[in-house]
C-alpha cells in the first residue's frame, strides 16, 4: 500500500455497510420469526435474510431500503411537496446558514474585542467558555417556545440556537488566530508606525484566515445540529428534525434513517464547502500547498 487514503477509506466504508447489513438481519430476525410462526410456514436461511431486509417497520432498516426511501422522497416528489425531503432539508439548511452567518459575525466581533481590550479578555473569555457547558441544545425547545410566545416564529428562533452554538468555536479560533502574528512581525509594524487598525487589517486579519476557516468548519457542523434540535419542539411542522420526531412518533424507522442520512450528507457537503472556500482564500493570498 502506498500513502494513498482512498483505498483504506473505501474499505472502511464497505466494512461499515457490511456490518450494517449483518446488523439488519440480526436485529430484525426476532420479529420475522414471529411472523413465520403466526403464518405457520417453513422457512430457510435465505428466506429469512431476504425478508428481514424488506420489513415495513424494521428495527433497523437495511441500507438499500433507506436508499430507496431517500430516492423516492427526493427525486420522485415535487420539491414543494411536504413529503419531499428536499423541502425539509431546505428549511433546515436555511436556518443553519442564517445561524452560521450570525454566529460567525458575532464570534469574529467578540474575538476582535477580546484581542484589543484586556478587560474584555479577562472578563468575557471565561464566560464564553462557561457558556458552552450550558447544554443549550437541551433548552433549545424552551427558547423556541418562549420566542414563539413573543411572536418570533419560523426561521429566526432556530437560527438563534445555531448562532449560540456556532459563535464559540469561531471566538476561540479567531482569538488564537488574531494573536498568531509573532512579536517580530508586530515590531516591524511598529517601526512602520502603523496604527492599530492598520496592524489589524494588514497583519492580524490575514494571519488569522486559516484559523477562521478551521473554526468555521466546526461551526457549520454544529450549527446544523442546532437547527435540527430546534425543530423538535415546534410540533413537527417542517424540517429534518421534524421528520425525525414524526418518524419516532409513528415508528417509521425508514423515515428516521433517511432523514438522518440526508442530515449527514448535508453536514458533509457544508463542511466540504467551507473547506473549499478556505482553500480558495489561502490560494488567493499566495499560500502554496
Amino acid at each position: 500500500m502506498g500513502g494513498g487514503k482512498t483505498i483504506p477509506i473505501l474499505v472502511v466504508v464497505a466494512a461499515i455497510i457490511g456490518i450494517w447489513y449483518a446488523a439488519t438481519v440480526w436485529l430484525n430476525t426476532p420479529w420475522q420469526l414471529g411472523v413465520y410462526e403466526r403464518e405457520g410456514r417453513d422457512w430457510t436461511a435465505s428466506d429469512l435474510i431476504v425478508d428481514t431486509m424488506a420489513q415495513e417497520r424494521p428495527v433497523l432498516p437495511s441500507p438499500h431500503q433507506v436508499a430507496v426511501e431517500i430516492w423516492q422522497t427526493t427525486a420522485e416528489k415535487k420539491v414543494t411537496s411536504k413529503r419531499s425531503l428536499v423541502y425539509h432539508a431546505w428549511i433546515t439548511l436555511s436556518a443553519t446558514l442564517a445561524g452560521f452567518a450570525m454566529g460567525t459575525v458575532l464570534g469574529v466581533v467578540l474575538a476582535v474585542a477580546i484581542v484589543h481590550n484586556r478587560a474584555t479578555d479577562r472578563s468575557v473569555m471565561p464566560w464564553v467558555i462557561a457558556s458552552q457547558t450550558i447544554p443549550i441544545l437541551a433548552i433549545a425547545p424552551m427558547i423556541i417556545v418562549v420566542l414563539n410566545a413573543v411572536g418570533l416564529s419560523g426561521l429566526l428562533p432556530k437560527a438563534l440556537i445555531s448562532t449560540y452554538l456556532s459563535f464559540f468555536p469561531v471566538v476561540v479560533g479567531m482569538v488564537k488566530g488574531l494573536r498568531a502574528p509573532e512579536a517580530i512581525q508586530l515590531d516591524l509594524m511598529r517601526t512602520y508606525s502603523a496604527s492599530t487598525s492598520q496592524v489589524f487589517w494588514k497583519l492580524r486579519w490575514p494571519h488569522s484566515m486559516p484559523y477562521l476557516f478551521a473554526s468555521m468548519k466546526v461551526a457549520v457542523a454544529i450549527s446544523l445540529v442546532g437547527a435540527i434540535v430546534g425543530e423538535l419542539p415546534t410540533g413537527a411542522v417542517a424540517g429534518l428534525g421534524a421528520r425525525l420526531l414524526a418518524g419516532s412518533y409513528y415508528g417509521q424507522t425508514v423515515q428516521i434513517w433517511s432523514a438522518l442520512i440526508v442530515a449527514a450528507l448535508l453536514a458533509s457537503v457544508l463542511v466540504t464547502l467551507v473547506g473549499a472556500a478556505g482553500g480558495y482564500v489561502s490560494r488567493r493570498m499566495g499560500v502554496r500547498p
Binding site: 487514503k5 483505498i7 483504506p8 477509506i9 473505501l10 474499505v11 472502511v12 466504508v13 461499515i16 436485529l27 481590550n117 484586556r118 478587560a119 479578555d121 479577562r122 472578563s123 468575557v124 473569555m125 471565561p126 464566560w127 462557561a130 458552552q132 457547558t133 450550558i134 447544554p135 443549550i136 441544545l137 437541551a138 433548552i139 425547545p141 424552551m142 417556545v145 418562549v146 410566545a149 413573543v150 468548519k217 466546526v218 457542523a221 446544523l224 445540529v225 435540527i228 434540535v229 423538535l232 419542539p233 429534518l240 428534525g241 425525525l244 418518524g247 419516532s248 415508528g251 424507522t253 428516521i256 434513517w257 432523514a259 438522518l260 442530515a263 449527514a264 453536514a267 458533509s268 463542511v271
Partner: protein, 361 residues
Amino acid sequence: MTRLQAGLAAAVGLLGLLGLVLPLSAETGLLDTPFLTTFAVLCAASLFRFRNPLPVSVDGCLTLAAGLALPMSLTVIDRGSAGFWCLAAAGWLAAWLFVERLTASRRGGRWTALAVPVLFGVTLLVLWEVVTRGLNVPQVLLPPPSAIGARFAASIPILWADFQQTFLKAVLIGYALGCGSAFLVAIAIDRSPFLQRGLLPVGNLISALPIIGIAPIMVMWFGFDWPSKAAVVIVMTFFPMLVNTVAGLAEAGRMERDLMRTYAAGYWQTLVKLRLPAAAPFIFNALKINSTLALIGAIVAEFFGTPIVGMGFRISTEVGRMNVDMVWAEIAVAAVAGSAFFGAVALVERAVTFWHPSNRT
C-alpha cells in the same frame, strides 16, 4: 486614564446626575428610595475625579453600591422610568470602569484574575434582575434570577431525582463506556496503519455529523429508561475519543521511539511508558469535549420518551405547563453539573499532564 476610561467615568457621572433629575418611576420620588438616591449622588460626586484622580477602590465601592441599591429599590419601584434606567446604565458602566481599571493596574495577580470574571457574572445577574423586574417582563418570557433561585430552593428533591436519573445514570455510565470503548478500539487499530488511514477521515466526518439524531432510534431499541440515553451518549462520545486517541498515539516522536528500542522495550512497555503519556493531552482534549456532549446527548434523548423523571423530561413538560422558572432551575442544575464535570476533567488533566507546556506558567 485612557480615553475609554475617561469616557466611561464621564458617562457614569452624567447618568448619575440625570438619575437625580429625571423621575425614577411614576409613583415614587427620590426620598422613597434612599439607597438608589445615595448611589445617584455618589455617581455625580465621582465627576470630581476629573480634578483629582480617585483610587480604584472608589470605583469598587461605586460598583458595590450599584449592585445593592438597584435590586433593593425594586421592592418600592414597580415599573422604572427614565431616571431609573439612567441609574441602571450608570451601575453597569461603573462595573465596566471598575473592571477596566482593575485589569489595567496589573496588581493583585491571581486574585484579580479570579475577581474579574466573577464580577462580570454578578453584573450580568444583577442587570437581568433589574431589567426583568424594572420592565415587568412576564414570568413566562424570562423570570428574574431571584424567582429562579426561590423555585430552585423549593424543589430540591425533584431536581435531585432528575439529576440522579439523567446525570448519575445515563451520562456517567454512557460517558465511561463510550470513552473507554473508543480508547480500546483506538489502541487496537493503532497496530494497523491501513485501518488508521481509513478510519481517521471517516471518524472525523462522523464526529461532525448530527449524531444527536439517533436519539429516537435508541429510544426505540433500548426502551424509555436510562439505558437508551446512555446508548446515545456512548455513540456521541465514541468518535471524538477515537479520533483524538489515534492522533495522540501518533504523537510520540521518532527519537523517543528509537530510544525505547535501544532500551529493548517491547510494544506494551513502549505503549505504557512513552506513547500513552505522550497521547494524554489529546485524550484529555477529547474527554473535555465529551463531558459537555454527554450531558447534551442525555437531555435531548429524553425528549423522545422517558419515565416520568429526568432533566430532559422535566424541561419539556414544564415548558408545556408554562412553569418557566422550574425550567430555568433545571437549566441551572445542568449548567452547574456540566461546568463541574468539565472542571473535574480539567483538574485531572492538570495533574496527569503537568509536564505539558500549556500547564507550565
